[in-house]
Amino acid sequence: MPFIPHTTDDIEHMLKTIGVADINALFDEIPESLRCPPLDIAAGLSEQEIVRLMHERANEDGQTLNFAGAGAYEHHIPAAIWEVTTRGEFYSAYTPYQAEASQGTLQLLYEFQTMMTRLTGMDVSNASLYDGASALAEAVLMSVRANRKSKSKVILMPTSLHPHYRAVVKTIVTQQGITMQDIDYDPATGTTDLDKLMAHAGEDIAAVVIPQPNFFGGIEPVNEMVNWAHENKALAIAVVNPMSLGVLNAPGDWGQTGADIVCGEGQPLGIPLASGGAYLGFLCCQQSYVRQMPGRIIGKTVDLDGKPGYTLTLQAREQHIRRSKATSNICTNQGLMVTAATIYMSIMGDAGVNSAATQSYQNTHQLVASMTDIPGVERVFDSPFFHEAVIKLPSSAARYLRSMGAHNILAGISLEQWYPELKDCVLVCATETKNQADLEKYMSHMGRLFDAPLACQLRPSF
């Protein structure tokens, strides 16, 4: 019996001890009328059979040369990370309720919190939420609780934010009577139209959401946005890519006084693409808001001998203590992903993160320069960008992606589904994992598609 260690002797002895005739008798409190017939599910596979099946499925999806980003980024993942993360003691432990028997996980989480506060320039970090989008939803809920000056439950949300993040926030927070007010992007820059933001001056606003870089890869005027928010008694919620923080300014240093809450997707920190999860949402804030924070927080303390140790703290915010009055319903979080991200940040260090970020910046800029050498292919926005950019094609984006896909190249992401005004546009990304041969391959296939023999040449790197 797969995974069940009982011998026939065991079963007999145990039934006798309990005093029942057979295992079925143990279910005698279930009304007979409710008992179900045998499940209509295939018989179990041996491990050998599932190995074959999964290899076939994995080979089918193959290994694509990937130039897609849009919230999930292919970065180099040092081998040591997952070899250590999947050690049984991390992999198969529960939430560290018994602190003394969980110092490994707890110290690691405390280190993670420290790293995240340093990366974001905040005072406090929690120990993870589900993913970047749901972390933003929690940040919005938190801002409404935290902003004592605002009664309105109105959140300003730029349309340059990831459309799926906007969708998730909508799903999660509208149930509590919170309203999101879109702030359109400037069609020239692809970044938040400051005039449109400022049109809300004097209104009662709970918070302003500020993505950096935004969904189009563009650099938002974050300093002005934070300042405006604070001038208007709104909290500033930053949504950042942690990898970009190797190059871009920490939200704690934005504007005069910095963002109040910072959230985002931790996937770039050593977590594989894996079809979209499991990833890790992070959430940091300034000290004064810590009691409004959702999710687990680890604190340092001492034991009976005065020796330092780590434990879950501020649990009175959480559902298992506070129940209907908790800061969030979250219980299980993304512990294993946090383990990976923590080891990632340790192995990479500032220098490694900076290098990965910079190479991603450079590769994408080189690719964009080469693409836009093709007649009819052009950048849509003129603002500076980090490691993604929107490119307009002379014809259908869907057709383009299909043609490139036939060569096993995931050439970008079509934007029309979310932004009808961006018809024929693709969002492209080339991280540090792409070498010159990869970029050349991209350009040679693209060049052929658009009859641009000269453009087949990759622009020399700068």
Binding site: D61, P96, S128
Partner: protein, 485 residues
Amino acid sequence: MLIFEQSRLGRNPKHQVGAVEGANYEIPEEFLRKQPAGLPDVSELQAVRHYTLLSQKNFSIDTHFYPLGSCTMKYNPRACNTLANLPGITSRHPFTPPDMGQGFMACMYDLQNMLREVTGMSAISLAPAAGAQGEFAGVAMIRAYHDANNDTERCEILVPDAAHGTNPASAVMCGYKVKEIPTNSEGDVDLDALKSVVGPQTAGIMLTNPSTLGVFERQIEEIARVVHEAGGLLYYDGANLNAILGKVRPGDMGFDVIHLNLHKTFSTPHGGGGPGAGPVGVSERLKPYLPIPMVAYDGDDYSWVTEKELPTTIGRLSAFMGNASILMRAYIYAKMLGNDGMARIAEFSTLNANYLMTRLDEAGFEMAFKNRRATHEFIVTLKQVAKTMGVNTMDFAKRMLDYGVHAPTTYFPLLIAECLLIEPTETETRETLDDFVEVLKKILKEAEHTPDLVTQAPHTLPVKRLDDVRAVRQLDVAWKEGEES
């Protein structure tokens, strides 16, 4: 020692992705980082050694018996991890178009179908990232349903007092008020109390069955009738589905919407806190509201169900596909189990729990529900011990750690004083259970004769009993340079 204390500026070799020479950004200065963040600057060996040693400070399923009630700490098959990490699986971008490979989608579609069958529901969405998010999605669907019927006066969700904290918290996140229903002395819902609060304001009721008291709610049909008659819907918290897998299905019990904790019933790793996966299932009438994305199959191809195909969906819960890599592990596990294997989970987790309950009962421990069958878990109360010996449940729990056993869940459910919620799971041997009985008997003796040994426990772990109060009062949640550790 913290990793930061091992850090020395200039140590990191930038070996992983190479160095970049003279980076030159076309980004205005004001947007660039002013100074390095202060991530650790350590060698790869230092990082590997540090985290390897840290890991050894954990209890885990791979090293210890871990009978943590409600949490289902059973063997996480290693094959699930190895196979979920195949390069073709880990490297797939979430926005890969279906025509570039259908392997992942085929797995997810299969998983939807298997979960539909084991729950007896009409449709499944794999989107929620954990049980609590499943609860949120479920209650949001209840709300969407009532709204669609213009039944907008329903503002209350009923929750038994034994419920997990996520239940009331989720209901509130959906904008509902929560009304608690008491439990009777036998561990069932107090039906009279229920009847007295149910009404036109009732949006629904959230139930776990078996409940967190370790017993099967025998009046479930009656409860369903009462709530349905009042126009409310029934929500099933699937955290305990492992107890009844293949025996009885929430769909057949009358539930309208459910979530499953795949990290419990389907044995995906808990990873020191997660990730989990909390798929939701619904009866026919709630199908229009399922969260997206889902996978559809037309006999030839797999495709995504998004808001385009399901405009009435409650929407998205995460940027992509919930915890896809965890779903994959659950899928692999489910395929290895097959139909018989699933039923065996219920059978042997129940056998182990009842055996352990009988043995502890014989050993003189007090059962919270002595006259009930245990399900996959059961409750011991140490009320008398605490009163007569001054050794409380937490002391007992800490002392167990010294004997190499992870403590059961303590002080939950809240309505049973000084309780231990014990869930041995089906993957543990009879010998392990027998050893556990001996450990508890020993501690009971110690509590009588050398109570300090118990109240001061643990004695053999990396740290002694930690000061939780200080952790709150002198809040220290991020290390600062110079601070000793």
